[in-house]
Symmetry: C2
Subunit: 341 residues, 2 copies
């Protein structure tokens, strides 16, 4: 989009007034970018036809910096919610989109974010159907916060429920962990590594859909370890269902460079945020087929079976370490990396 003819270079309070300037911002940037029959009604809301079960998920994105290696807050806001809907066993279809912009934000940056949202939404197969734009005074926000709420139709074969989890079930992840968190961290600290660490921000809905097509109710759980990382999600799982989790450190996909960066900064990759990783718990009988399907997909080529469900130590996540010992993966207390998503 050319921003030269917009007539404004920064977002100001008037763009959040609900009056002419708001309409100007919407018409010239938002409606123009996302135009579709739902949004074009320009009503207070949108009307969609749904039949059956629907998954709904919401997330606000407050990441800083808003542009980072491998992505920006716009695409993250799409991927994050698309993935949360997919984790319910649903096929994402619609997103709402709400901005809180800090007065003085450059329109060039705003447009870049909006265009990223459009691209990520197209790639994920979702439509932006309704939205909202607010502007707060300088110093009362931080450039831009984005909320997306996602809606998807449940996959007909999905029967996702932690209640179905039993001893011996296999735990898999689709790829390298801790990439997103370390990309943001290196950006913030201005760290240079041998090669650039990029965020893994991506949409996981197609791979999840393929898994459900193929394996249906033998898949017991999908969960994406974003904030809090893999360790926190596994710990929650163990406690929600009162089962134990056995992990093998050697099998957890972790890039050397990310491992080195974590060590340097004193961070445990088990608690570092991901934006393109999911874990799944599946019946042991299909684990190798699930692994093969995942490895055959660009979003799962580094997939691995990382552990099993056990009843030997309920509520505990136990990791067999690289050097052979065992340690308990405790829950994350406090904050490892603020504003990571």
């Amino acid at each position: 989009m050319s921003i030269e003819n917009l007539g404004f270079e920064t977002i100001n309070l008037g763009h959040g007034s609900g009056g002419e300037l708001t309409r100007d911002l919407l018409d010239k940037i938002i409606f123009k970018t996302f135009s579709n029959p739902y949004l074009d009604q320009k009503h207070d809301g949108s009307i969609v036809q749904i039949d059956g079960k629907m998954a709904i998920s919401t997330d606000s994105f407050v990441i800083t910096p808003i542009f980072f290696k491998g992505g920006n807050i716009g695409e993250l806001a799409v991927h994050g919610t698309v993935n949360d809907v997919a984790m319910c066993g649903a096929i994402p279809k619609y997103l709402s989109l709400a901005f809180i912009v800090e007065e003085g934000m450059q329109v060039s940056e705003f447009v870049k974010v909006v265009e990223s949202i459009k691209k990520a939404a197209d790639e994920s197969g979702v439509l932006i159907i309704t939205g909202d734009t607010k502007v707060v005074e300088r110093g009362k926000g931080d450039k831009i916060f984005i909320n997306t709420t996602g809606f998807g139709a449940m996959h007909p074969k999905a029967n996702i429920s932690v209640q179905n989890i039993k001893e011996g079930d296999a735990i898999l992840v689709n790829g390298f962990i801790a990439q997103h968190g370390m990309a943001i961290m290196s950006e913030r600290e201005g760290l240079e590594f041998e090669s650039t660490i990029e965020s893994d921000s991506t949409n996981l809905n197609y791979l999840v859909n393929d898994l459900l097509d193929e394996f249906g109710d033998k898949i017991k759980l999908f969960r994406d370890p974003t904030r809090g990382g893999l360790g926190t999600v596994l710990h929650e799982l163990a406690n929600d269902v009162s089962v134990g989790v056995d992990l093998r450190e050697i099998d957890i996909p972790l890039e050397k460079q990310v491992a080195a960066a974590c060590e340097m900064l004193g961070l445990d990759p088990m608690y570092v945020a991901n934006e393109g990783v999911f874990l799944t718990v599946v019946d042991a009988s299909i684990k190798d087929e699930v692994l093969a399907l995942m490895q055959n997909d660009t979003k799962g080529k580094n997939a691995a079976i990382i552990g099993e469900i056990t009843l030997e130590h309920p509520n505990k996540v136990v990791m067999q370490s690289l050097i052979g010992g065992k340690r308990i993966v405790s829950p994350l207390v406090g904050e490892q990396l603020p504003r990571i998503c």
Copy 2:
């Protein structure tokens, strides 16, 4: 809710980490307050059964101050979205709820907001089914921003569409305008009036539902003039449909005290925000019955027929003033009152 045993008095960055502190905040305040079968799944999203057409609307609330005469940001976040769904001709059923909290917010204030949300949701007949909580550093937010996204089933008799609007249709509002904006303004400026001006923040869904039950597709439009006020919404209507609007100033419900406050501050009540007002465009044949139904309801007791649709001056809103002259109601440019919702 007693906040003495929570173990924390302020919200800190750890409450947004996704780890133990986040779980603590959710379990002790959020899940405890809103407990219902959807939310209790504690999954990434919620699964609901829908059949047919559904209206979806999203809004972020950034109002300051967060507590004001007649309401607070919590109930506003419920009413605002419930009303937007109702304006589509739908019956609101579910809300998502996402917080962006500034580090250092008092837990006592947070709990007060959460409890208001619960009360307003109960009164409006909607369930909070999924949510999100983020925390930003001190100085990067302003106490609390709230996003709600609402879902409602379309009323079976609704056929809301600006395309159905024709010459002679009557325009009604349900009550006094400009109350919300002037309540916030007097709060900010520390102004004292003879009696307190209170926000009109309330849910309009039951009255809208009753109107649809009774008059079905003879109702052509509902719209709530929040940001930008009645003038902006009427101006948008005129331009979206290429019709003219004739208004009679004498018929527009405006409390004396609010009128005086507007005059004192140099504000035009036509552009001041409302949070409990809606306008409706109806077939001329039913206008008196519609008025009677509205006046019979606590949310519409000050309802009035304020004007008509005309083809004489398309795209223009023309007001017959109190002293008999006519003036054009131009669109609001810029910002009259920032952060009013």
